[in-house]
């Protein structure tokens, strides 16, 4: 029990839980108190994240650190095994920062029907699930946390969402659950075929030592693929995403885009690739294919949108395509780029959804044809939007570039055994995708920010950025800038852990 509570990782899950319980027994009317509790909780949780960041041994980022390995469910041989390495750490931190900033942003932005108590409780439950997924080193623990985010997100979309919220929320839920059902079957098959354990490092070791029939691997990978690919989402499983994003309240969209999508890609990197390297090689060309289809499809979809939020949502499909392309090369270059892409996309698209929410709040519309002149009416917000659009289209010097460009480049030289011709074709297609990305993002920026305000809004009083918005956005904007200028900060952390994965991929 002692080292269970001594580990900061445990507290990244326990702190939001305690905060949520405090919220649960607080009065619904004491709004300020509720907000303070939620804010303190998310900041304290972030504090534990900072502690992990400070005490992390960067020279040894390939091994799991802050490990706790305790009995949990003996009957099924599942343990409470948590730890972070260079891959989990950035994502864990991302999840905490985003949650804290969402609490700050919500300060005076509670969507109808308000009820801050329930809203903030759901936000903290989401944080439990996200943090837990990134630290879990046991498949069952991973599964429980992975699923834990479904309920709060379902309610967040369904209760606080837009017009079409009921349809969007259940669609989100059903799609994801379908994937998880097949994923859990894959986990169980792994358990029985690879040494009666759910422990991820042990499974990696068992499979690489004693091998696993290639056919079995292919089937199990298929189950895991469904679970993770729907979450990412990859084409053609992406159809839940535009609906969910568009209908969700601002904070919901931010969390969904910034962190929940990463649970899928993280699953590939943490579970599917290292445990099943053989199957990963057979599946990689298909994953790459779906990834580049996603890039082009997402870009074309974005070009066709009339709604600001829906446009950003479709751009997520394209960006996650780049991440998946990087992963599908199975090279350390590509996977490093993918993890960078996850973090960058989390910050940038999170920001874009914040902005879309704030613009909607001011103009009461997100229709691009009715917007315009943001730079005139709210210049600071306009420039922030411009900054984020540039980051998103992959301008060198901002974070987006380091996720996108190396991912494309990595396809030039995929791992041994993968067809170079095929992946170079993917590379070209993906590169064309970046042109489209520049197209829709610039077009979006032009329509919202340039020109003069429409007649209907000329006399409207449009606030520029509020203090809570400044507080919530500054850390993210700084992150985009810092990671853009000094990408080595992040690559340095991830590289060691990625090397061990690729070593396993090429080893057998």
């Amino acid at each position: 029990m002692k080292d269970f509570l001594a580990s900061p990782l445990t507290w990244t899950v326990l702190a939001p839980l305690l905060g949520m319980l405090v919220l649960g027994v607080s009065s619904r009317a004491a709004e300020v108190w509720l907000k303070v509790v939620a804010l303190v909780t998310s900041l304290v949780t972030l504090g534990f994240g900072v502690e992990v960041l400070a005490r992390f041994d960067y020279a040894d980022s390939r091994t799991l650190q802050f490990v706790v390995d305790k009995r949990w469910i003996d009957v099924i041989n599942s343990r409470y095994h948590v730890g972070v390495d260079g891959i989990s750490l950035p994502l864990l931190l991302l999840s905490m920062v985003i949650t804290a900033m969402c609490v700050v942003y919500s300060w005076d932005h509670f969507p109808e029907p308000r009820n801050p108590k329930a809203f903030l409780m759901l936000l903290l439950v989401l944080e439990i699930g996200m943090n837990g997924t990134f630290i879990a080193q046991d498949l069952i623990l991973f599964f429980v946390f992975f699923e834990l985010v479904l309920l709060p997100m379902y309610f967040m979309i369904g209760v606080w969402g837009g017009e079409n919220r009921q349809y969007a929320s259940i669609k989100f839920f059903l799609f994801t659950l379908f994937g998880s059902a097949l994923m859990i079957l894959g986990f169980l098959a792994l358990y029985f075929k690879a040494g009666n354990t759910f422990d991820i490092p042990a499974l990696v070791a068992n499979v690489s030592r004693s091998g696993l029939a290639h056919n079995t691997q292919l089937w199990i990978f298929g189950g895991l693929f469904m679970g993770f690919a729907i979450k990412v989402p990859m084409f053609p499983f992406h159809t839940w995403l535009p609906d969910a994003h568009t209908e969700a309240p601002t904070v919901g969209s931010v969390i969904l885009a910034a962190v929940l999508l990463k649970l899928g890609t993280y699953g590939f990197v943490r579970v599917a690739l290292p445990i099943l390297p053989g199957a990963a090689r057979s599946w990689a060309p298909w994953i790459g294919l779906l990834a580049v289809i996603g890039i082009i499809y997402g870009a074309l979809g974005s070009l066709a949108q009339r709604d600001l939020k829906r446009l950003v949502a479709f751009s997520s499909v394209a960006h996650m395509g780049f991440v998946m392309l990087g992963i599908s090369t199975l090279t350390s270059f590509g996977i490093n780029a993918a993890i960078f892409g996850m973090v960058a996309h989390g910050l940038i698209t999170g920001m874009l959804f914040f902005l879309a929410g704030s613009i909607h709040e001011r103009y009461h519309t997100r229709e691009l044809s009715r917007l315009g002149g943001l730079l005139v009416q709210a210049p600071r917000m306009g420039w922030i939007l411009g900054f984020c659009a540039m980051a998103s289209l992959g301008l060198p010097g901002l974070a987006g570039f380091w996720g996108e460009f190396p991912a494309i480049l990595s396809a030039y030289q995929p791992a041994a055994g993968l067809s170079e011709v095929l992946f170079r074709t993917y590379m070209v297609v993906a590169a064309i995708g970046t042109v489209f990305a520049a197209g829709y993002l610039l077009w979006m920026f032009q329509r919202t920010a340039f020109g003069v305000p429409r007649e209907e809004f000329v006399d409207a009083h449009i606030h520029d950025v509020h203090p809570p918005e400044w507080w919530a956005w500054t850390p993210l904007l700084l992150g985009i800038l810092v990671l853009g200028v000094a990408p080595g900060l992040l690559f340095h952390v991830t590289n060691g852990a990625v090397q061990t994965i690729t070593a396993a991929l090429t080893g057998s």
Binding site: I76, I140, I170
Partner: protein, 494 residues
């Protein structure tokens, strides 16, 4: 002339049954003498009596060893004790749920408690019955009072229909089952399950008549657990019966059917899994799929829960369908069935308790009447959300662990048929989510239908029933290890 030797009676092992029988008689007598205005005393005595019967169970469980009696026809082992505990706890929760329902509805109170406890006694006996005749007696003891309880709202036509349907189909099922038992007895010459198992592994196992016997017995119990295509009575009976009785039927009576099946299969017929496993495969696949698909179209909450409980029965049947030669896998399958029954009991009782609570205000069973419940009864809404998503199997609520063990049993067996069944179960759990979530959607996202936001009054007894259920559902979901001795429960598999 043979001298009669009284059989050995282990009074300690029979203590739960003896205490419960005493309580049943006490309730019956007390009801005659207690004044009309003080009938609640009878219910209270019944409740205390049920809890008193739990005491020897705890003692026996702590004591450990198996206690067979009557040549193996009646065995008190860990499996039996756990199931007795489940049935007594179910009986207690149903009493709590029924307390206000029955007295406010102006129905007979004393007799309600008496019949309910008689039925529970039948279930308690069933948990230990390892003999065809004992199983039959236990089944009748638990069914006959239940037939009457289903018609307890005697001025309501639907309730009359419920009781009559339940009675006729129940008797038919019993007849089919008895015929099957007679065939098995004819082939093996014994009614004790352990000896039947020995004969089936030997020469008489190959006889055609055995196959027919096993088939009829399984069909008989398929009625009892409302497996498709023998489920037609369930929705009508559930809808018409008083809601506490519905909860009792869908949990206690169904679990008793499963307990009998588990004992028959694992103790008696285990050697002939080539006969019954395919039968269960078809039953499981059909029950899950049909139950779920029909549940999608229900607009009445009780009918929805009725079909949901049909679908859940399909999940409980899955482990039985995948059992093969492998003893390890058989243990895993038995564990899955048992744990599923326990968790299912808690979440289903909880859901029905909410139905009773909400109906006190809305006077309606339509799912639509739950609209906007969150706005005036947030506590009940959160609890119902827990129960619904637990039934759907979403972590970290108890139901996920039950479903997980079922999947595990299927993959432990590892045969292609087992994996196919697991995939069917997986798809079904997604379909099921849709209607469970639709209840949550009404409560959280829809407006209040008649703009009547008076808070719902939850009487203390009902609140206690809710508390017991929700604690169990959440605790088992977060920390399944609470069942630390699950491994021992598979003791039926030798």
């Amino acid at each position: 002339m043979p001298v009669f030797h009284a059989p050995y009676l282990d009074y300690a092992a029979l203590a739960p049954e003896i205490v419960l029988t005493g309580v049943v008689i006490a309730v019956l007598v007390l009801d005659l003498v207690v004044d009309e205005t003080r009938k609640y005393l009878v219910t209270q005595i019944a409740g205390v009596g049920v809890l008193a019967s739990l005491v020897p169970i705890v003692w026996l469980a702590a004591n450990g060893h198996d206690r067979p009696m009557f040549g193996g026809a009646y065995v008190v082992d860990n499996f039996a004790l756990l199931m007795k505990g489940l049935f007594l706890a179910t009986g207690y929760v149903v009493l709590l749920m029924g307390t206000n329902y029955i007295s406010e509805g102006d129905y007979y109170e004393g007799e309600f408690s008496f019949l309910l406890l008689s039925s529970v006694l039948g279930m308690v006996v069933m948990s230990s019955a390892r003999d065809l005749i004992t199983i039959f007696v236990a089944l009748e003891l638990l069914s006959v009072p239940a037939y009457m309880l289903a018609g307890w709202r005697k001025r309501d036509l639907k309730s009359n229909e419920a009781a009559l349907k339940y009675y006729l189909l129940g008797v038919l099922a019993t007849g089919v089952m008895l015929y099957g038992m007679s065939l098995v007895f004819g082939a093996t010459g014994t009614t004790v399950l352990v000896q039947i198992s020995r004969h089936l592994n030997g020469a008489s196992g190959a006889r055609q008549v055995v196959a027919l016997g096993i088939f009829f017995i399984v069909v008989g119990f398929a009625f009892k657990v409302s497996a498709v295509p023998f489920h037609f009575w369930a929705p009508d009976t559930y809808e018409g019966a008083p809601t506490p009785v519905t909860a009792f039927l869908s949990v206690g009576s169904k679990a008793a059917g499963f307990v009998a099946l588990l004992q028959l299969i694992y103790v008696g017929f285990f050697g002939r899994h080539d006969l019954w496993a395919p039968l269960f495969w078809v039953l499981a696949a059909a029950t899950m799929t049909v139950g779920n698909l029909v549940a999608l179209r229900q607009t009445n909450i009780v009918r929805l829960l009725a079909y949901s409980s049909v679908a859940q029965a399909g999940f409980i049947l899955v482990p039985l369908a995948v059992v093969g030669d492998n003893t390890q896998a058989a243990r895993s399958a038995l564990t899955a069935s048992i744990v599923y029954l326990l968790i299912y009991a808690a979440m289903n009782l909880g859901a029905f308790a909410i139905v009773i609570a909400v109906a006190r205000k809305t006077r309606s069973g339509e799912v639509e009447s739950y609209g906007g419940l969150f706005q005036y009864a947030p506590g009940l809404t959160v609890l119902m959300t827990f129960f619904m998503f637990s039934l759907a199997g979403i972590p970290p609520l108890g139901g996920w662990f039950a479903k997980f063990l079922v999947f595990r049993a299927a993959l432990d067996a590892g045969t292609p048929w087992a994996v196919v069944l697991a995939v069917i179960a997986g798809v079904n759990s997604v379909i099921a989510l849709f209607y469970y979530a639709s209840v949550a959607r009404q409560m959280w996202m829809s407006p209040v239908p008649d703009e009547d936001r008076t808070p719902v009054q939850v009487p203390p007894a009902l609140a206690a029933a809710l508390a017991i259920s929700v604690v169990f559902v959440v605790a088992i979901g977060v920390y399944p290890q609470a069942f630390a001795r699950l491994g021992d429960l598979a003791s039926l598999v030798r």
